[in-house]
């Protein structure tokens, strides 16, 4: 695997862990806390968090498609 391939693999795993894994703890509002931040830019904070990391994942896939995933002779 090339160096770029390794970086992209790490970025994808990191984005998945942040988006739908341990990263949720950073923004997860406590239901018992009335002052917890539940919205960001008028949207639920968890929604914004998930969609943002999804965008990162898509960027990683597009870069991998253009650079690392090789074309075969058909």
């Amino acid at each position: 695997m090339t160096a770029l391939g390794r970086i992209l693999a790490a970025a994808m795993l990191f984005a998945t862990a942040m988006g739908s894994g341990i990263g949720i703890w950073i923004v997860n509002p406590d239901p018992a806390d009335p002052d917890a931040t539940r919205e960001f830019l008028g949207m639920p904070v968890l929604f914004v968090w998930g969609v943002s990391w999804f965008c990162v994942q898509v960027v990683v896939v597009v870069i991998a498609y253009r650079t690392v995933w090789r074309k075969d002779a058909t």
Binding site: T16, I24, R38, L46, F47, Y65
Partner: protein, 534 residues
């Protein structure tokens, strides 16, 4: 006449026409029936892989889960870009090896690598069977539910009769076009079904947002959901962060090694086809799945469920069952929003839901017939059967499996306490947990090359047993034992997924047994590596 009935009638007519067209183009060979001659192009491959993945669970089950629990299950959509990477990484290698060596089923590849080990072939077939059966059952069940939701006002019969008829008609039509044209018909119909279901989800999301007064009002309503619904682990407390993360990492690869997808990798024209498919998959599928879940979230704001003190969530009386939130929302709000066009939009959406269920059921039935014919009948029952005989046995199996799924669904409908067939999303999770047990052996064959056949066999079987103990299935054999097991596994289930527990045991057993047993010869490993990379 109900416009949905007309729309579904037209749709079914087109499907049968596709089945006949597939039959006319087919050559009378096993490779053609199961893999469409290994000549599937990029668009067909992309749509058939996406439509097979996007089942009634995505259209009914997952929005239902979001409706019940709030935001946590929304994060499930984020495993799809990672799954797209597996489509390329695993898929392209499976495609190259399969083409070079003439494989048809997953068992062909895995068992051949491990020296033709019969036990490994059977274990791989069992993994496939345990994934496919719940998946087909949930699609047939969705067919019954849809008939009830759609035609309750049009026919003067009981709900049970409507459910049974809907499930039976659904089973009959799906079976018919799979029988007619094999993989070619399945893949062509998947293109139509893929376009329908993906656009159907976007339309449903747009309609929900419009019904709630626009995007700002939609998000405002979401921010006013109860605090538990806006945080992890959700209203029922079932989706803890570790569980979500484990699920995001492993469910994608589990869905990719199931027989129907694996055979689509063999059927692709080249590895390039899968490279382009992966890109489309990473972008289109998550957007549509998020749209589907946004409908569930909107439904939660419009029809709030009741949360009991025990934590149990009861759907709003107008919704009926969690799985029905999307069709009910469409039926209630779209006609009043769009007037006469609304009825047509609802009809289009209902066809999309039927398409989602059919596209998964047909692919899985077709794949399971290949697995049972090639890996069981051909190897252990009639090793000298001709290709023609095997093709007919495969068709017979499709009929038997379809009827078996229908009988299970009918029984489940009459016996609401029959645990194994309750909520659609739960069935999906069980199927994925079983499929996950094939991953260590698949990765070893394709990339790692350090395991032995006996290691793979022991690993798969131990993983399957662990998953079985975590599901409601032991209740089929002993109620008391099932209760004891449920107590034992309760804490583990709260934080991790059943599939992951099985995977952990599977990997440990695989590694330990492989350490002390004979591995494939170096020349076999070298030949596989060469096939996979060339």
């Amino acid at each position: 006449m109900n416009p949905s009935l007309i729309a579904i009638g037209v749709y079914v007519g087109v499907l049968i026409a596709i089945g006949v067209a597939g039959m006319l183009r087919s050559r009378n060979s096993e490779e053609d029936y199961y893999l469409a001659g290994r000549r599937q192009g990029f668009l067909t491959t992309a749509f058939t892989i996406m439509a097979t993945m996007f089942s009634s669970a995505a259209v009914l089950g997952l929005p239902g889960q979001v409706y019940q629990d709030g935001f946590p299950f929304f994060f499930f959509a984020l495993n799809l870009p990672l799954t797209a990477c597996f489509v390329y990484l695993l898929g392209s290698r499976i495609s190259r090896i399969g083409r070079a060596r003439g494989y048809v089923t997953p068992g062909d590849l895995v068992a051949d690598y491990y020296g033709g080990c019969a036990g490994v072939r059977l274990a791989v077939a069992l993994c496939g069977f345990l994934f496919v059966l719940p998946y087909v059952v949930m699609q047939v069940k969705a067919g019954g539910h849809l008939a009830m939701t759609l035609f309750r006002d049009d026919f003067d019969v009981s709900d049970d009769a409507l459910f049974d008829t809907g499930a039976l008609v659904f089973t009959g039509i799906t079976t018919a076009y799979v029988l007619l044209g094999g993989m070619r018909s399945v893949a062509w119909s998947d293109v139509l079904q893929g376009v329908l279901l993906l656009s159907g989800m976007i339309i449903a999301c747009a309609a929900t947002i419009a019904a709630m007064g626009g995007l700002s009002a939609y998000f405002e309503a979401l921010t006013e959901l109860p605090p538990e619904a806006q945080s992890v682990p959700g209203v029922s407390g079932a989706w803890t962060v570790p569980k979500l993360m484990i699920f995001a990492f492993f469910s994608g690869v589990a869905s990719i090694v199931q027989p129907a997808q694996w055979m689509r990798f063999y059927a692709a024209k080249s590895a390039n086809t899968l490279r382009r498919t992966a890109l489309i998959f990473a972008i289109v599928l998550p957007v549509c799945l998020m749209a589907s879940m946004m409908v569930g979230l909107g439904g939660r704001a419009l029809y709030p469920p009741t949360v009991e003190e025990s934590g149990a969530v009861t759907p709003h009386p107008d919704v009926g069952a969690n799985d029905q939130i999307v069709p009910n929302l469409m039926r209630e709000h779209v006609p009043e929003l769009l007037g006469p066009i609304g009825a047509l939009v609802v009809a289009f959406f209902m066809v999309a839901v039927v398409a989602a269920a059919m596209s998964t059921a047909d692919s899985n039935l077709h794949a399971l017939s290949a697995v049972l014919t090639r890996d069981v009948y051909d190897r252990f029952i009639r090793p000298k059967a001709s290709e023609r005989e095997r093709a007919w046995v495969g068709r017979g199996l499709i009929v038997i499996l379809s009827l078996f799924a229908y009988v299970l669904v009918r029984y489940g409908n009459r016996h609401p306490d029959f645990e194994p067939i309750k909520m659609i999303a739960q069935l999906m999770l069980v199927a994925i947990a079983f499929s996950l047990q094939l991953v260590p052996a698949a990765l070893d064959v394709l990339f790692v090359n350090r395991g032995s056949g006996r290691g793979a066999l022991c690993g798969i079987l131990s993983g399957l047993v662990v998953v079985f103990l975590f599901t409601p299935l032991p209740a089929l054999f002993s109620e008391s034992a099932a209760h004891s097991l449920a107590d034992l596994t309760l804490d583990l289930k709260r934080n991790v997924d059943a599939g992951f527990c099985g995977l952990f045991v599977n990997v440990v057993v695989f590694a330990v047994v492989s350490r002390f047993t004979t591995k494939p010869a170096p020349d076999v490993v070298k030949a596989f590596r060469k096939s996979g990379q060339s």
